[in-house]
Amino acid sequence: MPKFILQLDRESLRQWLPLVTLVLLVTLVGVFQPSFLRPSTLLQLASDTAVLFVLATGVTFVIMLGGIDLSIQSMASLASVIVALTVARLGYGSFVLAIAIGVVAGLASGLAHVLLKIPSFIATLAMSGVLASSALVLSKERSITLGELDRGYQTWITGTVYGLPNVIIIGFIVLVIAHILQSQTRFGRYSAAIGAGEPAAYASGVKVDRQKVYAYILSAGFAALAGVVLAGRLASGSPTLAAEMLLPSIAAVVVGGTAITGGVGSIWRTLIGALIITVVRIGMTFLGVNIFAQNIVFGAVLIGAVAITIDRSKIPIVK
């Protein structure tokens, strides 16, 4: 690597590299495929990003305080199954039910993590298994297509307002709420403090365990919301609806510049990261890359992003 790149200070790299990457990628795809830059295509891009962004936003809260949530894709799939099974009977209540189940699952993961002192990746990996199997059992291993009547309840997801897809508005509302939570509340500040220096946060009187549980609740809750939105867009619920979304979600968080070790990050960065992932995905489609090969790229991107952003002076030993 040339010397001047090494001299670039890591912090400004983490700050600006994601945005620069996004602009470059959009320009690049636009040059090869001018139709990509049409407003309608860009709106489609934003709509396609929304679910990934909601999923990634939830897990951002956990990553900020130095943990990880591996159960988000199972949670999203389960939420889609719950909606598909109950929307005929409960109407809008099915969405509330799905998100409430997310909150309970997050609470369970969080409590297992802080009370039993189980590493977060184990607690949420186990939770992921529980949720995935629940989705399989409840759906009798089938994909459940929403009936014509049920779809009436989905217009808040599938409709448009003055030509703007509702799903983009949902993504925007999530952005605003999550951004305020992360940057303007005590929870957000404590999360950053715990991620950057847990012993000091604890010694300063921060109720560390409580903040952690909040983060897991948010993560699973947002994952359930993502599942609800996905079910609406695809007009179906399935135990594998959100399969293959865990890797892109975590890649989105890290590519955006949130440190996988915690302490540094923001929801804005996750938005940029999610957009990058979507542009790469669409770009690959344009280039004719097999859709099933995409996670090869995201896996490589994740490793690359962590390698660039990780601060080795802070963590001499990585396990």
Binding site: Q184, R186, Y190, A200, A203, S204, G205
Partner: protein, 508 residues
Amino acid sequence: MSTPSAEPVLALVGVDKRFPGVHALKNVSIEIGRGEVVGLIGENGAGKSTLMKILSGVYQPDSGEIRIAGQPTTLANAADANGKGIGMVFQEQSLLTNLTVGENIYLGNEAQFTRYGVIDWRALYAAAARQLEKVEVNVDPRMRSDYLSFAARQMVELAKALTLEEHAAGHLVILLDEPTSVLERAEIDVLFARVRSLKSRASFIFVSHRLDEVLELSDRIYVMKDGAVVADLKTADANVTKLHQVMVGRSLQTEYYREPLQKPFREEVVLESEGLSFGHAYQDVSFNLRAGEILGIAGVIGSGREELTRTLSGFTPHDAGRLLISGREVRLTSPAEAVDFGIGYIPRERRVEGLVLFLPVAANITLADLASLTSYGLIDSRQERKLAATWVERLNVRTPSINTLCLNLSGGNQQKVVLAKWLNAKARILILDHPTRGLDVGAKEEVYELVRAVTTEGVAVILTSDTLEETIGLSHSLLVMRDGRITHRTAANPGSKPRQIDLIQHMV
């Protein structure tokens, strides 16, 4: 012992080392002769640890030279230092307790017993047994090291260091870093006897806080102060008093600890401890702390004073006795609870427990009291910046801005941020756990001045300190602890402060 004609086995020439905000070693030159035991003493922060880390390859000097047998060399890392004949016996014992004694002795050097990737355990344990014979300790090399006493572990570490004889070029130099801190007197005698008998095999650098032991074991003594070597004394010419004087570098100045600023404390009792006990750590501790009082607790490692401060700051609740804060009985089960009762903890591990290094100055200052900045769930960030700027100015924190990460501040300024955090949280009781550790003289004086200022406003302070001098100089009242119990109480009013020797007799 070392005569000018004899080539020193190991020498440092004009070594300098700086860390952000601290000049840790200033033009340090030392030399160690063949078969010599050299003592190295100094207060905490004098630069001993940095010097040892340079000799063991952990740090590289900024300038100056390391010479082995007269030849300039570098010590790139611990393995390199080992290869060049420098062994270490650490203060915090470095044996892995889940491995056997033999495995520990040859940890990282198993290659000599390995054929086709498989270790010949019989050969390894036989060799380990021979190493243990060198230090004359009767331990089965196949025993797991957590079954050993501390004294036996120390001997095993020594045996481990001596394995360097087999593959290091040249004469051995073994660094003994506070090897006696956890040993009983009889065990110390054995250790010293071994060191003396090993002088034919190796030279030693002996670092210790216990001046009498340094005098007992060393041939020659280097005294460090504020990063420089200030004296090189033959043991025959030294005694405890003299060493202490050189080490402290000044006759006790009342000015240094701002004694003229020591105001009488108030009547109001803010904290009462009645027969407070915790396991084997401390028992039956009773005292009163009044508003504006600085209560110093003196004691050696193992006296229980460290555990007592951890209880008072909420980390480990007491299991017997009563603790009253402002007349209300409490049992503190977390620092969060202690903070709610107006207690602020200023830890010795400033960079771990004191500050979130990767957060800005402002966020650290407000961390313990964000609640008062929050309305309708949102932090008022304008108010926060204003508050942080006020504290930075009041405490004269030298920082480029309130948005600077605490990581980039010097030790003294970091400590001021910790203090600002608790003052901002309106703490009524401050627990100062070695508050000036690692600070240079100027920064120390600023901390003393601030502590005086807050007590004048009625804040009560419990102080444990690295040096007796600091404890005595700052405190209104003194407790001495030994083996978990209070052995002595005395007032320490300006002009009639007790002497160190008055306290030492109750400490050991």
